[in-house]
C-alpha cells in the first residue's frame, strides 16, 4: 500500500502555484517586519537619547504606518493563497475519489460500508486541507524567516547571531526526538477514535435490538467507559505533546532572555559571563533594541511548528483511508473495443461461465445457457445458487473468471460497456430513487427527455394515476428510498425509467418479491407490456411469478441443472418439482 504521505505529496503540483505565492507573501511579510523593527528602534533611540519632539520623529512614524497597512494586506493575501492551494487539491481529490469508486463498481461497493464511504467523500477530503493550507507553508517559512533574520543580525552583532544559531537547531532536533514518540501515540489515538465512532454507529443501528433484550441501558455504562478510556488515552498523548511544546517554549524564551541580558549588560558596560578569549562586540542602543525586537520573531515560526504538526497528523490519518479506497484495483479496460450495430438482436450465450467472490467458494461454476431474442427466461433456485451473479455478469459489474459471455457472437468483455448498458433495463427488488423530483428520476437514463415523453413512459408503467394525484405531480420531490411512495409505486417509477430507455433486454431481479397483491398486479401488468418485443430475464424467488415464462432455468450450486417450461418441469421428478413441493404443500395447486 502506498504511504498516505505519498498521496498527499502527489497532490502538491496542483497546489504548487498558490503555495509558492503564499510562501512568497509570508516571506515578504517577514522582510517588512524586519524593516518595521528597524524603524521602531530608530524612534525609541531618538526619543531616549536626543529627547526628540514629535516633529523630529514623524519621518520614521509615517513610513511605519504605511508598513503596518502593507503587512496587513500581505497577511491577508498569504492566507487567501494558502486556502486556494488546499481548495484546488480538495476539489480534484474528491472528484477523483468518487470517479474511482464508480469505476470500482457495485461489486466492490457491496463489500463496503456506504456510510464510511460517504464520510470519506465529505469529511475525509476536508481533513487534508490543513496539510496544504497550514503545514506546508509553515514548513517553508520556518526555514526562511529565521534565516533572513539571522542574515540581518549577523553583520550588526555577531554575538546575538551566535546565540540564535546555537539555540535554534536545538528546537527542531528536540522536536523530532519527542515527535516520533508522539506520532506513535497519536496514531494509536486515531485508531481509538475510529473504533469509538464505529462502536457508536453499531449501537445506534442496533438500538432496537438492544432494547428488545433490555440491554440498552446497560449500554450507557459502556459508552461512559469508552468515552472515559478515550479521555485517558488522549490525555496520555497530550501530556507528552504539551511537554514538547513547553520545552520548545523554554528554549525560545531562554534564547530571547540570553540575547536581552547580553545586550543589556553590554549597554551598561558590564562584564559578560563568557570566556575571556571572546571579545564581545560593542553595541549601540539602536542596534540592541532592534535585535531585541527581532528575537521573538526569530523563534516564533519554530515555536508554531508544533501546532501545524497536528494538522499534518490529521491529514495523514485521513489520507490513509483515501489511499485504501484509491488503491482498489479497477477492472482493466477491454483491449479492443467491439461494438454492436444499433439493431443487433441480442442473442446472449453463457458458455461455461464461472465466477467466485471468494477463492474456493464459486458462485457460478460453468453456467451454460442462452437467451434468444424476444425470449422470456426465468431463473429460479435456492438462495446462494448464483442467480444474482448471473445478473451482475450481464450488467457488467463483474467479469467471468472462466468461460465467456457472448452477445451476437461478440465477447461481452470486449464490448464498449456504456453502449452495452444502453440496451439494458434493470429492475431490482428495491430500486433506488435519487434526491430530486419524480420526473428527474424517470429521466435518469435520458436527461433530455421532454415532459411528454416522461408522461408516456409513466403511462406505460401504470404510474400516471398515482403521480398525477400528487399535489406537485411530476415535480414531487422524492428521497433516497422514495419517501412518501409505496414499494409498488417506487417499482413503477423505476419501470418508467426502463420504458423511457427503450432497452432490448430487461432484467428483473426479484422485482415483485415484496409487494402486496394489488401493487404486484399493477407492476406485473407493466412488466408484461415491457416484455413485448424484448428479451427478458426474470430472477425469481416466488415460483408463482415464473409460470408464464417461455423457459425456466433452474440453477443450483452455480450450474444450470434443469431447463424447460413450467408444464415440462413439473412433470419431471427433478429439482424444480421438489422445490415446488417443499414450498407449497397445498400440493393440489402444484
Amino acid at each position: 500500500m502506498t504511504a498516505p504521505r505519498t498521496l498527499l505529496d502527489d497532490q502538491k503540483p496542483l497546489a504548487a502555484r498558490w503555495l509558492r505565492l503564499s510562501v512568497g507573501l509570508g516571506l515578504g511579510n517577514g522582510v517588512l517586519l524586519i524593516l518595521q523593527a528597524w524603524l521602531l528602534a530608530q524612534v525609541i533611540d531618538a526619543l531616549v537619547f536626543t529627547n526628540a519632539a514629535l516633529a523630529d520623529v514623524t519621518g520614521w512614524l509615517w513610513p511605519l504606518l504605511a508598513l503596518f497597512a502593507l503587512r496587513a494586506l500581505l497577511a491577508w493575501a498569504s492566507e487567501q493563497n494558502a486556502f486556494r492551494a488546499a481548495a484546488q487539491v480538495k476539489i480534484s481529490l474528491r472528484d477523483r475519489l468518487y470517479r474511482h469508486i464508480q469505476a470500482a463498481g457495485p461489486a466492490w461497493m457491496a463489500g463496503q460500508r456506504s456510510g464510511a464511504i460517504a464520510e470519506d467523500l465529505t469529511r475525509g477530503i476536508e481533513a487534508v486541507e490543513a496539510y496544504y493550507s497550514r503545514y506546508l507553508p509553515a514548513m517553508s517559512l520556518t526555514a526562511l524567516i529565521p534565516l533572513t533574520i539571522l542574515i540581518v543580525v549577523l553583520p550588526l552583532d555577531w554575538l546575538s547571531a551566535l546565540i540564535m544559531l546555537v539555540t535554534a537547531p536545538l528546537i527542531p532536533i528536540f522536536m523530532i526526538l519527542i515527535g516520533s514518540g508522539v506520532e506513535r501515540l497519536n496514531q494509536q489515538l486515531w485508531k481509538d477514535l475510529a473504533r469509538m465512532g464505529a462502536h457508536f454507529l453499531d449501537v445506534i443501528q442496533g438500538m432496537t435490538t438492544l432494547k428488545l433484550f433490555n440491554a440498552s441501558r446497560r449500554e450507557a455504562e459502556v459508552i461512559a467507559r469508552i468515552s472515559e478510556d478515550y479521555r485517558a488515552s488522549t490525555m496520555r498523548v497530550l501530556r507528552v505533546a504539551f511537554l514538547t511544546s513547553a520545552v520548545l517554549e523554554l528554549f525560545s524564551t531562554l534564547g530571547i532572555a540570553i540575547i536581552a541580558v547580553f545586550i543589556g549588560f553590554r549597554l551598561y558596560q558590564l562584564e559578560l559571563p563568557i570566556p575571556e578569549l571572546i571579545a564581545p562586540p560593542e553595541i549601540s542602543f539602536v542596534t540592541g533594541f532592534f535585535i531585541l525586537l527581532l528575537a521573538p520573531e526569530f523563534y516564533a515560526p519554530l515555536r508554531n511548528l508544533g501546532t501545524h504538526y497536528h494538522g499534518r497528523m490529521e491529514a495523514i490519518a485521513a489520507a490513509e483511508r483515501l489511499v485504501a479506497v484509491m488503491e482498489t484495483e479497477l477492472p482493466a479496460p477491454p483491449k479492443q473495443v467491439a461494438s454492436l450495430s444499433a439493431d443487433s438482436p441480442l442473442q446472449i450465450r453463457f458458455e461455461g461461465v464461472s465466477f467466485s467472490y471468494e477463492p474456493g467458494r464459486p458462485a457460478l461454476a460453468g453456467a451454460q445457457f442462452e437467451i434468444n431474442p424476444g425470449e422470456r427466461i426465468a431463473l429460479v433456485g435456492p438462495s446462494g445458487a448464483g442467480k444474482t451473479t448471473v445478473a451482475s455478469l450481464l450488467l457488467g459489474f463483474i467479469r467471468p473468471e472462466a468461460g465467456r459471455i457472448s452477445v451476437d457472437g461478440e465477447d461481452l468483455n470486449a464490448l464498449a460497456i456504456d453502449d452495452w448498458r444502453r440496451r439494458l433495463a434493470w429492475l431490482p427488488q428495491q430500486p433506488r430513487l435519487f434526491q430530486g423530483t419524480i420526473a428527474d428520476n424517470i429521466r435518469l437514463g435520458l436527461p433530455d427527455a421532454t415532459l411528454d415523453e416522461v408522461r408516456q413512459a409513466a403511462e406505460r408503467a401504470q404510474a400516471t394515476e398515482f403521480i398525477e394525484r400528487l399535489p406537485l405531480g411530476y415535480d414531487s420531490p422524492v428521497g433516497e428510498r422514495g419517501s412518501g411512495l409505496s414499494g409498488g409505486q417506487i417499482q413503477r417509477v423505476a419501470l418508467a425509467r426502463a420504458f423511457l430507455r427503450d432497452a432490448r433486454l430487461v432484467i428483473l431481479d426479484e422485482a415483485t418479491a415484496s409487494l402486496d397483491p394489488a401493487s404486484e398486479a399493477l407492476v406485473q401488468r407493466a412488466v408484461d407490456q415491457l416484455a413485448e418485443g424484448r428479451s427478458m430475464l426474470i430472477i425469481a424467488h416466488r415460483l408463482s411469478t415464473v409460470r408464464n415464462a417461455d423457459r425456466i432455468l433452474v440453477i443450483d450450486d452455480g450450474r444450470i441443472v434443469e431447463a424447460g417450461t413450467h408444464a415440462e418441469l413439473i412433470e419431471r421428478d427433478g429439482p424444480y418439482r421438489r422445490m415446488v413441493r417443499l414450498l407449497e404443500p397445498g400440493g393440489a395447486h402444484a
Binding site: 503587512r71 464508480q102 469509538m196 432496537t208 532572555a257 433495463a425 420531490p477 428521497g479
Partner: protein
C-alpha cells in the same frame, strides 16, 4: 443565546476545572505581557544608565524577567493540560447524557433520522461543543479580566494612553468578533447545508451506483458531486476571506496601538511627564496585550456552527418518547395470554410514508427528509395502519398473521412491544393493561425474531450473550444447535469467538438470521413474536429452520407473521390483514377456500 445558557448549566459539574483553566490562562497571559514590557524597559533603562554613567539596580528587573519567563512556560503547559482535561471530561459526560436521552426514543422517534445523522450528533456535534469552552468561554473571560488590568496599569502612567489602549482593545476584542460573527453566519450555515447535500449525494451515488451505471447517469452524478464540491469550496473561500481579514485587522489594530502610544507618548516624554524607558515599555506592552483578544474574532466566527451543533443535540434531547413510562407499581399478570380489543393506530405524519409500514426497526435508510416529504403530506391525514383489530390469544395458543406489505402486521408487533402507543383500543397482558408495564418489564416477557436483527460488531459469543449475560457455553451451543447454526460455528477456525458484524466475517442473511433465532431461544420468554423468520432463506434451510421454530413454539404464546404455507398449516388460527383490518380468519384448511388468502400466498395462479 438560550442555547448558551443551557450549555452553561450542562457544564456545571465541571465548573471547578473551568475556573482552574481560566486562572492558569490568565496567569500565563500576564506573565507574557510582563516579560515583554519589562524587557523593553530594562534594555532602555540600562542604555540610559550606561550612557549617563549612573548606577541602577538591574537585579530586580532581571529576576522579574526570569520569573515571568518561567511562569509563562509552565503556565502554558498547565493551561493546556487543564483546559483539555476539562474539555474531555465534559465531552465524555455529554455523550452519556445524550445517549441516555436518545435511548428512550428508539425506535419510534428515531425513524425519521438517518443513522449517519445520529452518529454525527453523538460524535461530531458533541465534539464541536469543546469549541465553546476552549475557544470561547475561557478566552472571553481572560480577555475581560486582563483587559481591565491592562487599562488600570496604563492609567498609572497616563490616563489618555490608557483610554487609547482600551479603545483599541475593544475594537479588536468586540467590534471585530461581532463583525466576524455577523458576516460568518450566512456562509457558515451554507457550509453546513452543502456538506449535508454532499453527504446525501455521496450516499445516493454509492448505494445507487448500479442504477447510475446502467442508466448511463454515472458521469452526470459525478459532475453533480463536483459542482457541490466546488460550491462548498466557494463558501469556504468566503469564510476564509473573513478569517483573513479578521486576522489582518487584529494585527493592524495592535500595530496601530503601538503607533498611537508613540504618537501621543512622545510629547509626554518631551515635556518630562513620562520617562523614556517608560514609553519604550508601554509601547511594547501595548503590543503584547493584544494576545488577549487575538483569538476572539475566530472564536466568534465559528460560534454559529457550535450553536448549531448544540441546537441539533437539544432537538433530540427535547423529543418526548413515543410511549411514556408508567409511574405506578409493576402489575402482576395472571398468565401470559394477550387480549387485543379495537386496536387502532396511525403513524404521525410526516414519518408515515406508506412505504415504511413493512419495517419493524427504525430503518436506517428511512431518512424522510422532513422538507422533501412535507409537500406531499401537508394536508392529508396519514392513513390508519391498524383500524380496529380484535384478537384473543390465550397462553400457549399460536396465531399467524398474513397480509400484504403495509397491511399493519409489523405495526401490531411494535404496539405489543410498546415501541408505540395505540391511538384507540386496548392490549392486555394476563388481564393487565399493557401501558401499566414498564418497558423493560414487558420486554422481559417477549422474544422477537425478525428479518432485521442487528448483529453487533463483536464476537458471536458476545452477540448471543446480549440475550442472557450469564448463560454458560453449554446453553449457547444448545440454542445454536436448535437454530441449525451450531455446526457452522463449530467449523469456523475461531468457533464462538469469531468476529461478526461490519468488520468481522461476513455472514449470509440466513446465517445471521439463525444466530438471531439462537439469541431469541436463549431469551426463553413466554411470549414469542416471529416476523417472517425464514424470509429470504433457501428451501432446504427454511425447512430445517421451521422445524427449529416449531420446537421453540411449544408451550409458548405465539404470534407469527409469514406467508409460508408450511408454517401456516400448523397454526391454531390465521388472521388475514388488509389495510389495518382483519378481513378473513380461520385455520389454513378453512382459509384455502376464502377469496383473498390463497391469492396472498400465491397459490391461486393456476386457476
Amino acid at each position: 443565546m438560550p442555547e448558551l445558557i443551557r450549555l452553561w448549566h450542562l457544564f456545571r459539574p465541571y465548573r471547578g476545572w473551568m475556573l482552574g483553566g481560566f486562572a492558569v490562562a490568565l496567569i500565563t497571559l500576564l506573565a507574557n505581557v510582563t516579560l515583554m514590557a519589562i524587557s523593553a524597559w530594562f534594555i532602555t533603562a540600562m542604555a540610559v544608565a550606561g550612557a549617563a554613567g549612573v548606577a541602577m539596580n538591574y537585579f530586580t528587573p532581571a529576576a522579574i524577567i526570569r520569573g515571568s519567563a518561567i511562569a509563562r512556560t509552565a503556565g502554558r503547559y498547565f493551561e493546556r493540560l487543564i483546559t483539555h482535561e476539562a474539555t474531555l471530561r465534559q465531552l465524555a459526560g455529554l455523550r452519556v447524557w445524550f445517549y441516555r436521552h436518545l435511548e428512550p426514543l428508539a425506535p419510534a422517534r428515531l425513524m425519521a433520522y438517518h443513522s449517519a445523522d445520529l452518529l454525527t450528533r453523538i460524535r461530531a456535534d458533541i465534539d464541536a461543543l469543546d469549541n465553546l469552552y476552549v475557544r470561547v468561554l475561557v478566552p472571553v473571560l481572560v480577555a475581560i479580566t486582563a483587559g481591565l488590568a491592562f487599562f488600570v496599569f496604563t492609567a498609572l502612567f497616563d490616563l489618555g494612553l490608557a483610554l487609547l489602549l482600551l479603545g483599541m482593545l475593544l475594537i479588536a476584542g468586540v467590534l471585530l468578533p461581532w463583525w466576524g460573527h455577523r458576516l460568518g453566519k450566512q456562509p457558515g450555515r451554507r457550509i453546513v447545508e452543502i456538506q449535508a447535500e454532499l453527504r446525501q449525494a455521496g450516499i445516493d451515488g454509492t448505494q445507487g451506483l448500479s442504477e447510475l451505471l446502467i442508466y448511463g447517469a454515472a458521469d452526470s452524478h459525478a459532475r453533480h458531486m463536483d459542482a457541490l464540491s466546488r460550491a462548498l469550496v466557494a463558501e469556504q473561500a468566503r469564510m476564509s476571506q473573513l478569517t483573513g481579514i479578521a486576522q489582518a485587522a487584529t494585527g493592524l489594530t495592535a500595530n496601530l496601538t503601538l503607533w498611537g502610544m508613540l504618537w501621543f507618548g512622545i510629547p509626554l516624554v518631551h515635556d518630562g511627564s513620562l520617562a523614556p524607558p517608560q514609553l519604550a515599555m508601554l509601547a511594547l506592552f501595548s503590543l503584547a496585550t493584544f494576545e488577549a483578544v487575538a483569538p476572539l474574532p475566530m472564536a466568534f466566527q465559528q460560534l454559529e456552527s457550535t450553536l448549531t451543533a448544540a441546537r441539533r443535540l437539544f432537538a433530540i434531547v427535547d423529543t418526548e418518547p413515543a410511549v411514556p413510562e408508567p409511574t405506578g407499581p409493576t402489575p402482576q399478570p395472571r398468565d401470559h395470554g394477550l387480549s387485543i380489543e379495537g386496536l387502532r393506530f396511525r403513524y404521525p405524519s410526516p414519518v408515515a410514508g406508506s412505504g415504511s409500514g413493512g419495517s419493524d426497526s427504525p430503518d436506517p435508510g428511512m431518512s424522510l427528509g422532513s422538507s422533501s416529504s412535507s409537500g406531499m403530506h401537508s394536508d392529508t391525514k396519514p392513513p390508519a395502519i391498524l383500524d380496529g383489530i380484535d384478537l384473543e390469544l390465550p397462553p400457549g395458543r399460536r396465531v399467524a398473521i398474513v397480509g400484504a406489505t403495509g397491511s399493519g402486521k409489523t405495526t401490531l408487533f411494535n404496539l405489543l412491544l410498546r415501541f408505540w402507543a395505540p391511538e384507540a383500543g386496548s392490549i392486555r397482558l394476563g388481564g393487565e393493561p399493557l401501558e401499566h408495564f414498564p418497558g423493560e418489564d414487558l420486554r422481559r416477557r417477549i422474544a422477537l425474531v425478525s428479518q432485521h436483527t442487528h448483529l453487533f460488531d463483536t464476537s458471536i459469543r458476545e452477540n448471543l450473550l446480549i440475550a442472557a449475560p450469564e448463560a454458560p457455553q453449554g446453553l449457547l451451543e444448545q440454542a445454536c444447535a436448535t437454530a441449525q447454526i451450531h455446526d457452522f460455528i463449530a467449523e469456523l477456525p475461531e468457533g464462538y469467538d469469531t468476529w461478526v458484524g461490519e468488520t468481522g466475517v461476513r455472514l449470509s442473511g440466513g446465517q445471521a438470521r439463525r444466530i438471531a433465532i439462537a439469541r431469541a431461544l436463549l431469551r426463553d420468554a413466554p411470549i414469542l413474536l416471529l416476523d417472517e423468520p425464514t424470509e429470504g432463506l433457501d428451501a432446504v434451510t427454511e425447512r430445517a429452520l421451521m422445524d427449529a421454530v416449531q420446537r421453540l413454539m411449544t408451550g409458548r404464546t405465539v404470534l407469527l407473521i409469514t406467508h409460508k404455507p408450511v408454517a401456516l398449516a400448523q397454526m391454531d388460527e390465521i388472521l388475514v390483514l388488509d389495510q389495518g383490518r382483519v378481513i378473513e380468519r380461520g385455520t389454513h384448511a378453512e382459509l384455502l377456500k376464502a377469496p383473498i388468502y390463497p391469492r396472498l400466498l400465491g397459490l391461486d395462479l393456476d386457476a
